[in-house]
């Protein structure tokens, strides 16, 4: 069972997202995260799906995705060198001695504090999923007020280009 990052170019039509998510639920495939937004070409959306499955299952997933009429291209990014990034916004309690400590940990993780009140920070952090997890583990969990993560988006390295 391997974690795969699947990138999809899909016609930017209404209902396109539900065709993809419906496929995953109908066929019992796992989705760890799914992100979607229009590309520089407004007629196309790009999706990144993280899924865990055996090679056979991932092969079926890519075939079934390709079968959707609106899907233009499908690539399993994890087949070769690639970069993945995720954005997290994390609201933490920042009072007393925790206030300095929180700033220090955010710096170590190259996070940025983008909202400050007397008692809280919002920290913006990008990286791969593991880095974001590591950050959450590095801080005292009782100080976490709220987190939101975008899910992974990914891109191939160098000459690997996903374009129509």
């Amino acid at each position: 069972m391997m974690r795969h990052i699947i990138a999809i170019l899909i016609e930017n039509e209404s209902g396109a997202l539900s065709r993809v998510s419906g496929l995953f639920s109908a066929r019992g495939y796992n989705i760890e995260s799914l992100t979607v937004a229009p590309t520089e070409d407004a007629s196309l959306s790009r999706m990144t799906i993280v899924s865990v499955g055996s090679d056979d299952v991932i092969e079926q997933i890519t075939k079934q995705l390709n079968k959707l009429i609106d899907v233009v291209k499908v690539v399993d990014l994890s087949e070769a060198a690639h970069i993945e990034r995720e954005l997290m916004l994390c609201k933490v309690r920042a009072t007393g001695k925790d206030r300095d400590e929180m700033k220090r940990v955010a710096d170590i993780f190259r996070g940025r504090i983008i909202d400050v009140t007397e008692s809280s920070y919002v920290i913006e952090l990008t990286g791969n999923g593991a880095k974001l997890d590591a950050f959450l583990q590095a801080i005292d969990s009782s100080l976490i007020l709220e987190t939101v993560r975008t899910g992974v988006c990914g891109i191939g390295r160098g000459d690997r280009i996903l374009k129509v």
């Binding site: 016609e11 539900s18 419906g22 109908a26 056979d56 079934q64 390709n66 009429i69």
Partner: protein
């Protein structure tokens, strides 16, 4: 000149040379029906329930390879049609379904007869569209017809809000359409075909296994040529029957859950398996792990890449349109000097003859109680093996598949994938519209027939002389069989009490009804139905042995060679 959306719908259907539309009117399609009324290029067939409209359009397509077209209203019109759409989807039947929708401004307001049609049907169509602007209407319908018939065929639905049918725009029907996201493969991969050819030439225990793809792609001719050239045994799935003549010696019968002993044993024990337009369905292969216990090389030709290595890993995948791929294989076989490995073939045929010798479909027809197999055999004889046979789902379906020997494609019309009871009668109507002079019989049971019995009224309206072969055992026969075999004879809700008098029922609808309860009367009744009552719809209610079971049987989850045979075998 500007046309309304409703006029555009009708013009598009005319441009596509549609000659029959099966449907049922309602509020949101009223403008379209108004335009249907004003024209006479295609005929509208009014059914009695939307499910039947889709089944009829479906069978119209199955029996003719034209695209079936149906039209229903929003809300309940659509939800009633869903069973029919899912049936067509599972068997890859090209349909265009036009559905009315509440006016654009009402969508999402829980309006009267509103349903999220695109959402409800999404998992059971090849594709669907909601038309948001009348300017997109003609192109969308063009795309629908194009998508339905190309690649792996399937139903395509176009949902049209009522206001769009009144809006106006210029009409232009494109001659062709391309979609950047949709490019089905046609030609098979040359290297893979080469590999396939050399495997076929080296095979010691070869087997051909063909499915519905052969029928859908009209490649029976190529399949017959290839099979005869190679001299290999062939089996055909429930969906593939008729692709290769069933009366030919090389045909071993159907494989799978109720397949023949010889077909299943040959599937299991072959060393090279050529799968042609078949998808290794659970009812065909049984337990995949058990199937995998024997090592064999598998060549799989299919138009749909996702059908390949879905349930069973294959060695030589060939994605392409069957006629082209089969032609290429034939061409390459003709080009090579070496003939197939003929030294071992006689041994293989000897082994198959031994399996055949079990005579697994044997049954005994005594003097008192009619057996269902006997009825189907007599039906075959009386119709000269040349009728279109539709069926519902259950024991009668399996008996029809086992005992009516189909020699031509598109003669056997049944719901294989979804297994939809209620399919048979509306399907028979669809066939008759596609082939107005053909002999059409619907092999059914007293449970299935009641699921769309209202269509007897449609048959009367359009004078459709369909023959209904009702194998009446008073039980949901297949359910009863499973309960007998796997649930300790506890016949939970499988006995159908209070059956109607089918003879009177048929007469009430204006048809001819007959009840047959003696074996000696079977043949005369059939002869009368297809003879003096040729032009009538005849409902033949055969009172059959309620204990008859379908054999051989591979129980669910068991291996193909783990067959249960009839007791006296």
């Amino acid at each position: 000149m500007q046309l309304t959306g409703a006029e555009i719908v009708v013009r598009c259907l005319q441009e596509e040379k549609v000659d029959h539309v099966f449907g049922y009117p309602g509020g949101s399609v009223l403008y379209i029906y108004d335009e249907v009324f004003k024209q006479d290029q295609f005929k509208h067939i009014l059914v009695r329930h939307e499910q039947a409209a889709v089944h009829a359009a479906d069978a119209y397509s199955r029996s003719s390879n034209k695209i079936g077209v149906c039209m229903v209203t929003s809300g309940p019109g659509v939800t009633n049609a869903v069973t029919g759409i899912a049936t067509a989807h599972m068997d890859s039947i090209p349909l265009v379904i036009i559905t009315g929708q509440v006016p654009s401004a009402y969508i999402g307001q829980d309006a009267f007869q509103e349903a999220d049609t695109v959402g409800i049907t999404r998992p059971c169509v090849k594709h669907n569209f909601l038309v948001k602007d009348v300017k997109d209407l003609a192109l969308t319908l063009k795309k629908a017809f194009y998508l339905a018939r190309t690649g792996r065929p399937g139903p395509v639905l176009v949902d049209i809000p009522k206001d769009i049918t009144t809006h106006k725009c210029d009409f232009h029907y494109p001659k062709s359409v391309t979609l950047r996201s949709y490019n089905p493969v046609v030609k098979g991969h040359g290297g893979q075909i080469k590999k396939a050819v050399s495997l076929l030439l080296e095979a010691k225990r070869p087997m051909i296994y063909s499915g519905g793809g052969v029928i859908l792609s009209d490649s029976a001719e190529q399949l017959i040529k290839l099979t005869r050239m190679l001299g290999f045994p062939i089996t055909q799935t429930l969906m593939g029957l008729g692709g290769y003549p069933a009366t030919d010696r090389q045909f071993l019968g159907m494989p799978g859950m109720h397949g023949t002993y010889e077909a299943n044993m040959a599937m299991q024990n072959c060393d090279v398996l050529l799968a042609v337009g078949a998808r290794f369905d659970d009812r065909v292969i049984g337990n995949t792990a058990h199937f995998g216990q024997v090592s064999r090389k598998i060549i799989h030709i299919d138009i749909d890449p996702s059908s390949i290595s879905k349930r069973v890993k294959v060695d030589v995948p060939i994605v392409g349109h069957l006629p082209e791929v089969l032609d290429e294989i034939i061409r390459q076989l003709e080009a090579v000097e070496a003939k197939p490995e003929t030294r071992h073939l006689p041994d293989w045929w000897k082994q198959i003859a031994e399996w055949r010798g079990r005579n697994c479909l044997k049954y005994t027809q005594g003097p008192d109680v009619i057996t269902p197999q006997y009825v189907v055999e007599k039906l075959y004889e009386v119709t000269g093996g040349d009728a279109f046979i539709t069926s519902d789902v259950g024991q009668h379906q399996m008996f029809a598949a086992q005992f009516y020997k189909f020699d031509k494609p598109r003669r056997w019309i049944n719901s294989g994938g979804l297994g939809t009871m209620g399919f048979g009668l509306p399907a028979a109507m669809g066939v008759r519209f596609a082939h107005p002079k053909a002999t059409v019989a619907c092999v059914t049971g007293e449970a299935s027939i009641q699921m769309c019995i209202q269509e007897l009224s449609t048959c009367k309206q359009y004078r459709l002389p369909v023959k209904i072969i009702n194998l009446n055992n008073g039980y949901l026969g297949m359910v009863r069989q499973w309960q007998e075999m796997f649930h300790g004879n506890r016949y939970a809700e499988s006995y159908v009490d209070a059956l109607p008098d089918f003879v009177k029922l048929a007469e009430a609808y204006g048809h001819v009804g007959m009840r047959i309860d003696k074996p000696a009367d079977v043949e005369p009744a059939l002869k009368a139905a297809f003879g003096k009552h040729k032009n009538d719809l005849v409902f033949l209610d055969f009172i059959i042995d309620p204990t008859a079971n379908v054999f051989p049987m591979v129980a669910a989850g068991k291996g193909l060679s783990e067959m249960i045979l009839a007791e006296d075998l």
